[in-house]
Structure formats: C-alpha cells, structure tokens
Symmetry: C2
Subunit: 341 residues, 2 copies
DNA sequence: TTGTAGGCGTTATCAG
DNA sequence: CTGATAACGCCTACAA
C-alpha cells in the first residue's frame, strides 16, 4: 500500500502538505500542489479512509436502516441513497430492521459501532421517544417517511393527505361517485392521512362520506384481498376503489378476478406508491407516485448538512404525483357492480 | 468516547490485556478477564472498529457490487448477504456497477479504498482477465453467477443447463411436444447454458431440436415481447414456451394477451429465476428457482474462509429447482395455437 | 499470564 | 504557505 509518506518524498514536501492537498482545506501554493498531485498519480496513491477516519474522527460513511432490503419499496430508495452518497464521497452501510423493535435498535448499535457519521432511518417499531433521546444524545440522524414534531427538521416525509386527495379526485373527475377506500393499518399515520385526503376530495365535491365504503386492510396483498372481500359482501354499489398502497391494489385485482370483473373496465382501481409492480400488473395500475429517488437524495443532502452543522434549507415534505395508467376509466352506465351472490 | 485506556485503568490492567479480551485471541486468566469485562460494562465500552481496522489491517467488512440495487434480482440477494455477514460480525458495503465496465471498475476501487477485506462481485462487464489479474494482485474476491475456469474455486454459480432441462422436461411431461424457447442474449453464457438444457431434454425424449422454435431475446420484458412476436409470426404451432428468465415470460404474457390467449390455459409458459414478479403475474408463473439466499450465504462463507486463508469445502455450483404454479398445464386437444392473422 | 513499546496512515496543532 | 510533532484508538511483537 502506497502511503502519504512516499508521496511526500517523491514530491519533496512534508506529509502535512500532502495531507493538505488531499483534504483541500488549507491553502497550498499552486506549484507545490501540482507537484504533489503528480506524485500521487505516478504512485497511484489512494488515501486510506480508515486512517483518515481515525485521525479526523469522521468516517465519511452513512448508516441506513430499511425494513427489508428485498422489498419493492426499499430497493429503489437504497439505490438512490447509495448513488448520491458515493457521488459525495461517502459510503453507505445498509442494514435491515425488519420492522422489529429490538432488531431496529440492534441495527442502530451495530452501525454506530461501525463508526458511521450519521444515520438514515426508515424504521417503524422504534418509538418517537427513543428517536428523540438519540438525537438528544448527539446522534445525527434523518428519519424517512415519518413525522415527529420534536424532530421536524430531520424528518423527510410525504404529503400523504394530498396523495389520497389526488387519487380520489381523479376518480371523481372520471364521474365516479360511489368510491370505496381500502386503507392500510389505521394505527399507521400514513393510512390515516391518505384516508383524510379521500374524505377531503369527497367533501370538496359535495359528496357525503360513507363509512361503510371504507375498509381497513393492511399494507400487503392479503390485506387488500381480505378488505376487498369484506367490502363486496357489504353489497354496496361502488364503481371504484382507492387503495392504501399498490399491494392492496393487487389484492383487489385478485378479488375482482374471482368475480370475473376487470380492473379498469368494470371497476376503477387506484394504488399508492408506484412500486415496481404497478407497471407489471395488468392492466397497469393507476397510482400515486412516491418520489423515492428524490427522497433518497434529500436524505443524503440533509445528513451532509447536519454533519457540517449547517441548518437546512431543504423542503422536507415531499409532494406525491398521480400516475394515470390503465386501471381507471370514465364511469359508464354499463359498469358492472360487484355483488355477493 | 470511552477507550480501551479507561477500561484498562478501571480494571487495573494494561491496555494490552484489555485488547486481549476484546479480540479473544490469546489466553487471559479468568479472574482478570471478568474484571475487564465488568469494567467494559460499567463504562459501556464499544471498541472502535476504525482503530481496530487500522491497527490490524482487517476491517471486518465486505464490499459487494451488484447491477442495480433496485432490481428484482439483487434485492433478495443483497438482503441475505447483508444478514449473514452481520451475523458473522462483518458489515457490508454495497455499490452498484450498473453493468457498465468503467463503473464496475470504479466501484471496486471505491470499495478497496474503503478498506474492505474482500469483495463479492456480481459483475458483467469486467473481463475475465481483469478479474484474474485482481486475484493475482492479492485482492480477495468471490464471483457470483459467473464461471471463470482459472478462478474456479471462487466462483459461485448456478447449474443453468440443468435449470433449462428442468423447465423443458416439465413441459414434456405435460405432453407438450412443440415447445418454443426464448433465450436471453446469447453472448451471455447463462443463456447458452439454459438453451443447452432445453436441447438436452428434447433429445432425451427423442424429439428433434428445431431451430425455428428458438428465438433470441434479451433478459428484459421487451426482449421477451419482441422475441415472442417473432416466434408467432413464424406460424409454428407451439403449445408451450420456455423463457430465459421471468421478465421474458412477462413479455410473453403480454403478447399472448394481445392475441386473446391465456398463459397456462392456451399456452404453457415457464420462466426462470423465480423473481418476485413470478408470484405476482396472473396466472402465477411456473418457473425455475434461482437459490438466491443460499447463494448469498455461500458467498459470505466463502469470503470468510478466504480471509482466514482456508481452502473451501463448499459446493460452489448451485442447483436450481422447478416451481410449479399456474402457467403450465397438461396439453389438451383444445389448446388454441397462436397464428398470425 | 501479563506488560512495554512501537506502529498502523492520517489529520491537527502550533510554530516558523 | 509550509513543516515538525503529537495525537486518533487499537494491535502486536517482544520481553518479563
């Protein structure tokens, strides 16, 4: 391994000077600087991050916790975070928390012991309080997809109410008036906020909110499946469904198929997230796009600013966007309505 | 930050002794050992990995390169590698190579400068030669899903021929005799090997290999789509299709839909990989399972063995497995055959 | 079994 | 603008 020492010798300067051109902090005369860089090139010198980290107590690394690395949701997010981190001279260590309280805590300890400068957390089981305490104890962290008032300037999250509104408004614009809603678990604020958007859109159109048109599901396919079945058993004549996320929509597709109905044609369906599957379902799913990449980038920007002890000027509330595909259509008289036989 | 020094003081021993109980290498008397651990507990001491790494030139970290972190394929793989690495006291730094030669090379440099002990590579653009040179220069690495004879004991790969055989055999067993095959890019050995398995199964059944039944596609949906269209235009009466991977199968589904045909009912379709989408397509896709998690685990085991300078006893060629779902069915006389109008 | 001393490759402090 | 010199926190001969 070629070290700073050899570079210094070849360039005929002190190690300190070489260090200066590496970090780029203090001033170095152009002439000596070029001598040093030339030496670095010919020696093919690469700074040893470990030594840098030890000496400067900065590791230039970011720790990240996600639910499950294999999930639809986290892949693109992690990708954008990693890419942007690397572009900014940092590396990323990702770990999965599995949505389990103890595992999430353990993961944080693990990352900290690895010397990361800061954390990007997508956690669900750790409590607000624990997070607040960590921040109080000096841990630099950014929280994804969750809002904690006390930590409002380190949370990056989506305007979920607006997303729910967008989805519902789209159906209303298509002429639907009997619009069902399948939410995720209602103890999650995401679910509640999206539902609130649904209510708002209805209200704005002068329609009454009917609680029978709402079913609480869970953010996975089974959740959508079960909720959709319950909804149909209620024998309502809805012509469209707003779903808490794309997985739920997938469950709805299945139930519709069981009733020989087609999404888009017979019943309009809107998802949420624009996960990869949204493009793979048939018909392709109209959904509300979760700006994953932007969120990843923002998260990195934010931790970098925190590391530099700058206060942020970033807009932390991200805006969702409606993506219209084939699962929603204008309401026509011929629309069949699902009924329990 | 509490250091080894303070622990030593509190325990009334030298730093060396503390270091010994941390690493657990040399012998320490039980009595002093317990004194030290007690001191570590009360001080809530956490070893500084960076300092350890610098002093011992072992970072207990693994670098990994994948194509694209957001992909179907890499998520589960990365997840299992990360999990298993962590269980063994290592952390993982993943980076994407984007299947681009220079980016892959850059990624390796990046990881090396980060002081990783070893690399797990899923790369496609870097040449065999470059890889061989790296190994020669002392870089410890394991290659995933690719076989290089000179590096045979550091390659973990799938028995692709057997996978192609399994898929085809399954269709033959169902009574199909006119079986088409859509491959991935034939410059990739995966594609060729799978195709070879297809030929072998046909031959074993006494059927003639017809090259018109084979179409070269690419490993994505469009590849499958285009190849399927070409195949249909050839006006052959095939009743089943073996696909190079699940994405291709998805393209086939689409083309079938265009012709008002259903996978499974009218034409049997077999995929390859058992990517997440296989379960999300309708009908669910019969496919050949790529043992991703096992491969991830094996990769970690292998690099750990290499770090310990042990020769391996692992079986590096992994065996695929047929997963039967709804896209394949017994051949009946009523099967409609796709024809060009 | 334990301790001493030197070093890992860099950065930080302080002079000059 | 540049250069000694002392950290950074830990490991590893070597010696006792």
């Amino acid at each position: 391994m070629v070290t700073i020492k050899e570079v210094a010798q070849l360039a005929g300067v002190s190690q300190t000077t070489v260090s200066r051109v590496i970090t780029g902090q203090s001033k170095v005369a152009e002439s000596t600087k070029s001598r040093v860089t030339a030496a670095m090139d010919t020696l093919n010198y690469r700074p040893n991050m470990l030594a840098q980290a030890l000496a400067s107590s900065r590791s230039y690394s970011i720790g990240m916790i996600v639910g499950h690395l294999g999930g639809f949701f986290y892949g693109p997010l992690t990708h954008s975070v990693e890419e942007f981190a690397r572009e900014n001279g940092h590396h990323l260590i990702v770990t999965s928390g599995e949505d389990d309280h103890d595992k999430e805590l353990e993961a944080i300890k693990f990352l900290l012991s690895r010397g990361v400068d800061s954390l990007i957390l997508h956690v669900s089981a750790i409590t607000d309080n624990e997070l607040i305490n960590m921040v109080a104890s000096g841990i630099k962290l950014v929280i994804l997809n969750r809002f904690i008032p006390e930590l409002s300037d380190q949370c990056i999250y989506l305007d979920n109410e607006y997303g729910g509104y967008l989805a519902t408004k789209h159906l209303l614009d298509l002429g639907h008036t009997k619009i069902a809603c399948i939410t995720g678990q209602l103890y999650k604020s995401d679910s509640r906020d999206r539902l609130q958007g649904y209510r708002k859109a209805l209200q704005e159109s002068g329609l009454l909110f009917e609680s029978t048109l709402v079913a609480e599901g869970a953010f996975d396919e089974d959740g959508g499946l079960n909720a959709a079945r319950r909804l149909i058993q209620r024998n309502l004549n809805f012509t469209a469904v707003v779903c808490g996320n794309d997985n739920i929509a997938m469950g709805v597709y299945d139930v519709l198929a069981d009733h020989e109905l087609n999404a888009g044609k017979d019943i309009s369906v809107v998802g949420y997230d624009d996960a990869i599957i949204a493009r793979y379902l048939r018909p392709k799913l109209t959904t509300v796009r979760f700006p994953m990449c932007e969120m990843g980038k923002f998260a990195v920007k934010l931790v970098l600013q925190m590391n530099a002890n700058k206060s942020t000027d970033l807009l932390l509330k991200m805006t969702p966007e409606l993506i219209i595909r084939g699962s929603t259509n204008k309401l026509t008289k011929t629309d069949s309505l699902p009924k329990e036989d």
